[in-house]
């Protein structure tokens, strides 16, 4: 698949933003590490809104005809993309109302505030599920057509959220022991989940050039693709990555997405240096961005069988 930055940013930033909101809800519900004070809460909610907005705005850049984008909310009965849009928009009023509530009342965990906060958190989590299902329902792309996709989106969105909140606490100098622990657990879980995913998609399966052409008992080779230069199909679906290159990019991804954030958070909480907290946040966002890029490039659409690929 063509790794369009607009779509990579959509799931990366909005997933992270919803993760921040869900973690803020958990931290303020249970008063973990004493809970976030009003200022920290407002910073977290604003960060969540900014992340989600970056994702939503960049997704409209992917549209070839954005003047019809408002229609994308209409087919929520059948389309996961429409559902994602509906829930993403529904998240805003609750997140903004909670922000205003905290701003005017300074109450981060009174009943009214917590209702707004938890609703925003839950809607965000539902949106992540919808985003995962956009890819997971496609039977045409074996690497996406698995329950591991929404599971990965969840755990990585929450890992980004926990890392951001833990970093925020380290930077402002508030106690962050439990939060860092949550972030480390989620980062480790993300690394394992992604490993399971890579193991899963490494097994060959799905349609072949034989079932694509119907000559099930013969060898089939492409003689001629039938076009002079590229087509929409080759541009959109033709991207591949050699196995060796994919492996080395995955090593880099694992270092930036999981190893550096875990190390930086541990050093940050021990030394209290805010620089390490910044490193953790930037590294996890960059690393999971690379993970999302790989997610697209490694996805092999079955239409490639008609352009000569033996198996996708």
């Amino acid at each position: 698949m063509h790794p369009a930055l607009a779509v990579i940013f959509l799931t990366l930033f909005s997933g992270g933003g919803f993760g921040i909101m869900a973690l803020t809800a958990i931290v303020n519900d249970l008063q973990i590490d004493g809970g976030l004070n009003p200022l920290q809460t407002m910073i977290a909610v604003i960060l969540s809104l900014v992340f989600v907005s970056i994702g939503m705005l960049s997704s409209t850049a992917h549209l070839a005809n954005p003047k019809n984008a408002w229609r994308a909310f209409t087919r929520w009965r059948t389309s996961w993309l429409a559902r994602e849009g509906v829930f993403a928009v529904l998240y805003y009023p609750f997140a903004v109302l909670y922000l205003l509530w905290v701003f005017f009342t300074s109450g981060t965990h009174d009943v009214a505030g917590l209702i707004l906060l938890n609703l925003a958190g839950v809607i965000g989590l539902i949106t992540i599920f919808c985003q995962g299902m956009i890819y997971a329902v496609l039977r045409t792309i074996r690497q996406w057509n698995t329950a591991l996709v929404p599971a990965n989106f969840y755990v990585m969105g929450l890992a980004i959220g926990a890392t951001v909140l833990a970093a925020e606490r380290i930077i402002v100098g508030a106690p962050a022991g439990t939060l860092v622990g949550i972030a480390l657990a989620l980062l480790a879980a993300s690394a394992v989940m992604k490993g399971i995913y890579y193991f899963w998609i490494s097994r060959p399966g799905g349609p072949t050039i034989r079932t694509a052409t119907g000559f099930n008992r013969s060898t089939v080779r492409i003689l001629e693709q039938g076009h002079t230069f590229g087509t929409f199909l080759t541009e959109e679906f033709g991207h591949t990555l050699s196995a060796a290159k994919a492996r080395s990019i995955k090593v880099i991804m694992y270092i930036f997405a999981f190893v550096i954030p875990i190390a930086a958070l541990v050093i940050g909480i021990v030394t209290g240096q805010s620089a390490f907290a910044w490193i953790a946040v930037l590294s996890v966002v960059f690393g999971i961005g690379v993970e999302r890029w790989l997610f697209f490039v490694e996805a092999q659409h079955v239409v490639n069988l008609y352009h000569g690929r033996q198996q996708c």
């Binding site: 992917h62 070839a64 909310f73 694509a212 013969s218 239409v303």
Partner: protein
């Protein structure tokens, strides 16, 4: 009613006339234009509803060239319609034709991801998804003679390798051809249940070339050929 195409891989000669006729008709049809990018330059590309690929099936000396025209299969389980968030993609209840409402499409490409057959192509100029309409502006046009109320690709095919009709009607020519010739659907394992079917090449008895060589006429012919060549 389930309108669709049946394509005979035995007789298709791979001339691309169906693709050209399709482009010619539809570039001024309901989803017009079918934009070309850099048509006379070094990297010609553009929107086509019908594309022909060429495959080699089997290994030498039992190999065969198969010309493989592909357009929208007007699937029964049209996932492209299911995933469309705007409602631009729809499948007509009365005849099963899958269409894109150009006024509603926002160009998100999602339907093209859901299509296993590469039937949908984004027009970069209009920003909308375009696809085979089964020449809906021909097949229902009461102004043209009845025998011409067929898709442009079917009318133009010089090898008569394309048939148009109702696959729901068991006695229609397309249904009979599918039944008698062992017509099949592409990638049935994906369960899209495409309406278009493909007829496999006929199995011919091998031509006995050793027998022919023994005939006296042929011996004379070969001798003449040799002499004339000198």
């Amino acid at each position: 009613m389930r309108l669709g195409l049946v394509i005979d891989l035995d007789t298709c000669v791979g001339c691309h006339a169906c693709a050209v006729a399709c482009k010619e008709w539809n570039t001024s049809g309901t989803t017009a234009p079918l934009t070309d990018y850099d048509p006379y330059g070094a990297k010609p590309s553009g929107v086509w509803f019908n594309r022909i690929r060429h495959f080699e099936v089997g290994d030498y000396p039992y190999n065969k060239t198969i010309n493989f025209p592909m357009s929208c299969m007007h699937c029964e389980n049209a996932e492209c319609v299911t995933v469309c968030p705007t409602g631009a993609s729809y499948k007509r209840a009365e005849d099963g034709i899958v269409l894109v409402d150009q006024n509603k499409c926002m160009g998100c490409n999602y339907c093209s991801w859901a299509c296993p057959y590469g039937a949908r192509e984004l027009d970069r100029v209009s920003g909308t998804m375009k696809k085979c309409t089964l020449c809906i502006d021909r097949i229902y046009d009461m102004e043209i003679p009845e025998e011409e109320r067929q898709p442009a690709c079917v009318l133009t095919c010089p090898a008569h390798a394309r048939m148009f009709g109702d696959v729901d009607d068991p006695e229609s020519p397309v249904s009979r051809a599918v039944r008698e010739r062992g017509g099949y659907q592409l990638m049935p394992e994906l369960d899209y249940n495409p309406t278009n079917h493909y007829l496999p090449p006929r199995v011919h008895a091998p031509i006995p070339i050793e027998e022919l060589k023994k005939k006296a006429v042929r011996k004379v012919k070969e001798w003449v050929n040799r002499v004339v060549e000198r």
